[in-house]
């Protein structure tokens, strides 16, 4: 039987009168990589933020290994340690060096031994090719480097599940690859992840399951081969088409701008 890591049941989330997630259900098994795709504003970020207890929810339940995630409960900080989140805008702490960014939470929150944590941080930095950036400040890094540090920072907490929210959306095209490769590597290690992305070929490569979301609802859900090559719903088909057209167009735009 599959090992249910995260279960979301009848989740309801609204901002004022604006209902974003109506009756959202999702189960993520241990070791599974779920990719979420959908038009901008359909509630992808909101969903991830709810999973991490960053948002007040109006109904339903989110559970991590049976433990309820409730931002108003005392144990929320403890649960969040098991959930690694990487934001589109990196959100490294500007007043701390790369190493200090990574080791802060393991040392201060998990009370792990400083020398062990540093050793692990150095190991992880090496794996993402950033050993030489150990002691620099975030402002001295490129976007792609910042994002890899943010990923290492989350990993160093030994999370059960990782959430990625359009982590390459703010990057220059030539830096997207290095970040995606890092995430792909994590998938190979068998980590559990929920990945929100607009990079279709990456989604295909990394995912076990793809959800197509529109207006806060799962319109279609399938293995990547089927959903991309043969979407069942008209909405998904339209979205993928538009998307490819836009991607081509954007790409040409960037090329034109460079000339």
């Amino acid at each position: 039987m599959a090992d249910k890591l995260l279960t979301i049941e009848h989740l309801k989330k609204s901002y004022g009168d604006n209902l974003i997630l109506k009756d959202f259900n999702l189960t993520v098994n241990r070791g599974e990589v779920v990719v979420i795709i959908g038009p901008s504003g359909c509630g992808k970020s909101t969903l991830l933020r709810c999973i991490n207890g960053l948002e007040e929810i109006q109904g339903g339940e989110i559970k991590l290994y049976g433990e309820k995630i409730d931002r108003n409960k005392k144990n929320i900080a403890e649960i969040r340690q098991k959930i690694g989140m990487v934001f589109q805008s990196y959100e490294l702490f500007p007043h701390k060096t790369v190493l200090q960014n990574i080791i802060l939470a393991p040392i201060k929150v998990q009370k792990r031994s400083k020398s062990d944590v540093i050793k692990e941080a150095e190991y992880l930095l090496e794996k993402v090719g950033l050993s030489d950036k150990r002691d620099v400040y975030p402002r001295q890094l490129s976007g792609g480097q910042k994002q890899r540090v943010a990923i290492v920072r989350a990993l160093c907490m030994h999370p059960e599940i990782m959430l990625f929210d359009e982590v390459t959306a703010a990057l220059d095209p030539e830096m997207v690859r290095e970040v995606l490769d890092t995430i792909l590597e994590l998938a190979k290690q068998g980590r559990t992840m929920i990945v929100v992305t607009h990079e279709m070929s990456f989604a295909r490569a990394v995912s076990d399951r793809v959800l197509f979301l529109d207006k806060g609802e799962i319109i279609e859900e399938d293995i990547p081969e089927r959903i991309f090559d043969n979407p069942k719903t008209e909405r998904a088909r339209r979205f993928f088409n538009t998307f490819e057209y836009d991607a081509v167009k954007n790409h040409t735009d960037t090329l034109n701008r460079k000339v």
Partner: protein, 225 residues
Amino acid sequence: MQALGIDVLLKGNNFIRLIDGLCTALRISLVSVIFSIVFGIVFGIVMTYKNTVISVVSRVYLEIVRIMPQMVLLFIVFFGTTRMFGLNLDAELASIIVFTFWGTAEMGDLVRGAVSNIPKHQYESSYALGLNKAQTYFYIVIPQTLRRLIPLSINLVTRMIKTTSLVMMIGVVEALKVTQQIIEANRMTAPNAAFGLYLTVFILYFLACWPISLLASYLEKKWSA
């Protein structure tokens, strides 16, 4: 030598008196800055609360400080309190009160700016790592606030030191006042000493403020994110 008034400066304890005067000015600014930082932090944090009464009162306070010349404030506090309440305020104390009144407003505004400038995402990425509220403030928010604040408050110190030249108007014997006294006393023997003496005051002020200014821009550069 004589034309520049150096001999006048070296006569008797004139130079010591001048330094003494400068020390008075520095003391007034330093004490006022310390009070301003303490009150300013409280005032600034209070201003980040979204409360109409608080925001109206603080707006009025900030506007008063911005509009009123410091000289007027000095006169109000020093002469006004004597008339109104029969208090006989020491001139130096009156200066400290006025400077603190002014400094608290400026510091408060800086603190409010620094705290509310920390993006919401900084809090969230800290929470996402499992830090609780207190840890987030202690490790993330306050250090970043202080970094933004320190260079700015150092600037306030230098501006205060400069502005202490006004307090002689209410009888505080600071550097400029001492200079005037020395010039008066030597009017017959060295009528041209004024230029040299004022030049000396200029150099002393410069020596007091310049390192502070340098420190501020150094920190600003070092911490600009």
